[in-house]
Structure formats: structure tokens, C-alpha cells
């Protein structure tokens, strides 16, 4: 698995062959390939310099809100055209070739569905438009896949957000596409629905389908994808194996807030250890910076026990998505 951090490493000088695209495991074929893609609206740049490949299996498109994830999915699905660069799905150019939609499904971010249709009619309509041989059978199969059989005869206008998400996934899956794009599919779902959708996503990946799932929740992504593409400010910030990227993120300096009954003594004991980069007091709490968060996590309780200090709380203060993403783009 190749991991890439920072966009400068991802930019291809010329059009790379499919196997050389960032984000692809060694030897894997790109099912989706973006080369030098940029999209702007007037003066506003939505995404730029995007060059990456996505192979079979589940790939998470990770990034904070507004980073450009939906733009990427819209580019891949051919709903918008790149201002520059090329987008290919299964070696076919999008947009342009409508036959690609036989192999491509999208559950987009839009909330609205055809409110006057029932869930079953909505999925069935998608099956008919896909011109599959047995639309009735496919409809029932996919409705069952997303656990919506019991509510399939209700009008989608009355569905909860979680139910809409699931019926959208069913509609995107009804023609059994080789490539499935899911834009924040877990938004609005309850824990049971979430677990069920995650299991479905993993199963589809295991079956060899190419599933791209966008998300802005790091902990969520861990549960279904090994391969991630991190988009920040419209650029590719990192691509590759999720755990390796996570480990690299762990190697940066972390800031930890510590609450205890004797902060001054604890600070004096910690500052002599080389893993403590700096330490200061703030509102009666210690703010420590460390270059090895795992080691520091072991050190603090040991020191506290040795010095007879009561430890109340240890909390990372820079673990927000924004700080992680900022780290990834090196800003």
C-alpha cells in the first residue's frame, strides 16, 4: 500500500499510468481515475490539482465539511464537468458516456426525493430506468439489503433522514453496479442503522465492488475503509492506508490538557522527560506538548503515582478534525 502525505507529492507532472496513481495499492488497477482535475466556479476554486486512482474495495473520501468531497463525487458521477483535467470511470470518460451509468450508482447528498412516491416505487423507478431485466426482483432484493422492507410502502416524503439515506442507497444499488458512490451515507442514521449500513458497505467491498464513501468523521471511516483519500481545501492531502496515515498523524506534536491536584509538581516531574516538548499552566491546568503521544500517555500516570499526585483528567486538545487535516496538509 502506498501512502502519500501532502499535495505536492501527489501532483503528476504528466498523465501517470493507472498503476502509478496516488491512492492505489501497488499493482491495483484504477477503476476511477482523476488526472490533474480542477473545478472552479468563477473565482472560487472548489477542487484543484487532483490526481488519484481508486481501485476495487472500499475507499473513504475523508475531509472536513466544505473540503470538496461532494464536488469530487459529482465529478466522478459526471454531474459536473472538470474545469481542467480528466475523469475516468471504468476507462470511460465522464461526463459524456451515459452507458457508464449501467455500472455506476450514486447516493448523493441531496435531501429531497420524489416525495409523492413510496420507497418501493422510488427504487423500482431506478430499476426501470436502469433497464435491468427483472426490476421487481431487484427492487425487493435491494430494499431488503437496507432493511427497509417494512417501510417500503410509505411515501418517501414522510421518511426520517436515516430512512431516506437507506432508500437512496437501495436506489443506487438496484442495478448491482460495479462502482458505488455514497455521499455521507451515515448522516442522520441511528446506531443500529449505522451498523447495518457499515456492514453492507464492507460486504460490497469484500465482493470486489468499488465503493467510495465520503465522510467527515474519522472514527466512522475506521470501521469500513482501509484505504482513504483525504481532501482538504479542495486538494488531496493524503492518500493510502488509513492506519499508516493515522500512525503518521500520531508522530506529530500533540497537545494534552491535564487536570490534577498538584499541577506544579507534576509539571516539574514531566518536564525532565524527553517526550515532553513543553509544559505550561493555564487556568489551573497543565497544557503539555509531546512528540510521542503514546509514550506520554503511559508516562503521566506513572509519574503521578510515583509523586503521589491525584490525576483527574487527561485530554488531547488538538484532536479535532480540523487540526488533524491541517496537519495533513502541512499548514
Amino acid at each position: 500500500m502506498t501512502e502519500t502525505l501532502n499535495p505536492s507529492l501527489n501532483q503528476a507532472a504528466s498523465e501517470p499510468a493507472s498503476k502509478e496513481l496516488p491512492g492505489l495499492p501497488p499493482g491495483a488497477e484504477a477503476v476511477i481515475a482523476l488526472r490533474g482535475v480542477a473545478k472552479w466556479y468563477g473565482d472560487v476554486v472548489a477542487v484543484s490539482d487532483l490526481t488519484f486512482g481508486i481501485g476495487a474495495g472500499v475507499t473513504a473520501l475523508l475531509g472536513p465539511n466544505g473540503a470538496g468531497k461532494s464536488t469530487v463525487l459529482n465529478l466522478v458521477s459526471g454531474l459536473i464537468r472538470p474545469s481542467s483535467g480528466t475523469v475516468q470511470v471504468l476507462n470511460r470518460a465522464v461526463p459524456g458516456d451515459t452507458t457508464v451509468y449501467r455500472d455506476l450508482g450514486l447516493a448523493g447528498e441531496q435531501e429531497q426525493l420524489y416525495g409523492s412516491l413510496t420507497g418501493r416505487e422510488f427504487v423500482h423507478l431506478n430499476a426501470i430506468l436502469q433497464k435491468i431485466p427483472q426490476p421487481d426482483v431487484a427492487t425487493e432484493r435491494t430494499i431488503a439489503l437496507v432493511d427497509m422492507t417494512g417501510d417500503a410502502n410509505r411515501q418517501v416524503g414522510g421518511y426520517s433522514k436515516g430512512m431516506r439515506q437507506r432508500i437512496k442507497v437501495a436506489a443506487a444499488l438496484v442495478h448491482d453496479p460495479r462502482v458505488l458512490l455514497l455521499d455521507e451515507p451515515l448522516n442522520g442514521t441511528d446506531p443500529v442503522q449505522r451498523a447495518s449500513l457499515i456492514a453492507l458497505i464492507r460486504r460490497l467491498g469484500d465482493e470486489g465492488k468499488t465503493v467510495v464513501v465520503s465522510s467527515h468523521v474519522l472514527s466512522e471511516v475506521e470501521r469500513f475503509a482501509r484505504n482513504v483519500l483525504v481532501i482538504v481545501n479542495g486538494k488531496l492531502a493524503a492518500a493510502g492506508d488509513f492506519r499508516t496515515i493515522r500512525e503518521r498523524m500520531d508522530e506529530r506534536d500533540h497537545i494534552i490538557r491535564i487536570r490534577c491536584d498538584d499541577p506544579r509538581r507534576l509539571a516539574a516531574a514531566l518536564v525532565v522527560d524527553p517526550v515532553t516538548t513543553s509544559i505550561r499552566m493555564e487556568d489551573g491546568r497543565l497544557i503539555a506538548e509531546t512528540n510521542d503521544v503514546r509514550q506520554f500517555g503511559r508516562l503521566v500516570p506513572q509519574v503521578a503515582r510515583r509523586e503521589g499526585i491525584r490525576l483527574f483528567e487527561m485530554q488531547p486538545v488538538d484532536e479535532s478534525l480540523a487540526s488533524v487535516f491541517s496537519y495533513l496538509v502541512g499548514s
Binding site: L79, R102, Y114, P135
Partner: protein
Amino acid sequence: MATLWRLLPVTTLTVRQFSGGRTARLALVLSLIPALFAAIYAARPWEVTPDEFLIGLFRELIVPTLLPIVVLLPATAAFGNELEDGTLPYLLMKPVSRLRLVLGKYAAVLLVTVPALLAGLIVTALVASRGMDVGDLGRILVAMAAASVAAAALLGALFLLVSLVIPRALLAGIIYIFAWESLLGRFLPGVRAISSREYALKVFDGILGDDLSTAWNAALTMLVVAGVCLLLAVWRLRSLQVD
């Protein structure tokens, strides 16, 4: 119904959306407004004969104003609503040609507007026709129906195209109807020559005056322009970007 879904999914979907919302009902209510005038006339007839009343109503109210509005509502909603609420990708991301999508939507517009217009014309004619010769009434009705269908075909295609090109298509359509068709088309010969009103009235007058070639030529012109509008709509849909 299941067969309709299979054969004409886009049309069936669009008609369902029109029926589920206010569009179809509004088209029918607007189509019946002339019947209200006919009822007033029937209750207290003024100094015109029923056939003069019907012809006047058709020429001055239905063709320049009411008919375009009845067509405008579903024609701009057919794609416009889906563009607005973000559901259009469900149609665009299918292995369906853009021509089929446009024709499916266009058929839905005609399926909603033409029956509503015809119903309005029939009710209006029946209400206003007290003492009228059945043959004369039939002839006026046929002329009105033919002109209305031709005008609906033209305006349906035109407004469908406009909805794919202009974000506020409904507003643009209303301005067009009142400024171009109803006002300027009435007084300026140059504008009149390129208004749907002029051609619809040629069809109407041609059938009433037994000048079928004039009626046919006018109807044909309208259908050709409608065809051009539909082709432009297909071209526009191919290049349309949906966020």
C-alpha cells in the same frame, strides 16, 4: 399503472409529481376560468351572440393569456422542480438518452395541460352556448381545440427549454406572456408575427373559415418551432451541470 411505469417511466413520474403537487390542479382551475365568464354571460347575456362571445373570449383571453399560463406552470416545473430540489441526478445518472428524458418530460407537460385546456373549453362552450346551433358550436369547439393543442405543443416545448436555460423560468415566462403575447403582440405587428398567439389564431381562424391550408401551415410552423425547442433542450441537458 405498472405497465405505464415500465413503458414511460419519465412521463409517469412527472405526471405523478404534477398530480401530487399543485401543478395539475392549478392548470385545471386556470383552464376553467373562461367558464366563469361564460356563466356570467349566460346569466345576463349582453349584446353579442353566443358564438361571438366564445370567439371573442378565445381570441382575447384564452389564447394570449390563459393558455400560456396553463402551459407555463407544468412546463417550467418539469425540469425546474428537479433542478431546484436536487432530484434531477436520479434521471441524469441513468443509461437513458437525453432525448428520451426531454421527450418524456414534454409528454407529461402535454398530458397535464391538453386535457385541462380541452375540459375548460368544453365547459365554457357548453355554458355559453344557450340557443346555439349544435353544428356551429361543434365547429367553434373543434377550432378552439385544434388551436389550443397546437399552442400548447409550441409553448410547452418553449417553456421546457427556458426552464433549462434560465434559473427563474417561471418569472421569465410570466413576463413573456404578459409583455410579449398579451400586450406587445396585440399592438405591434412585428411582435405579433412572431408570437404564438398569432399562429394559434391562424389555426383557429383557418378552421372556422374553412381555410384549412392556412390552419395546417400555421400548425405545422408551430410544431417545427416546438421541435427546434426540444432539440435545443436536449443539447442544453447534455451540457447541464448539476451540483
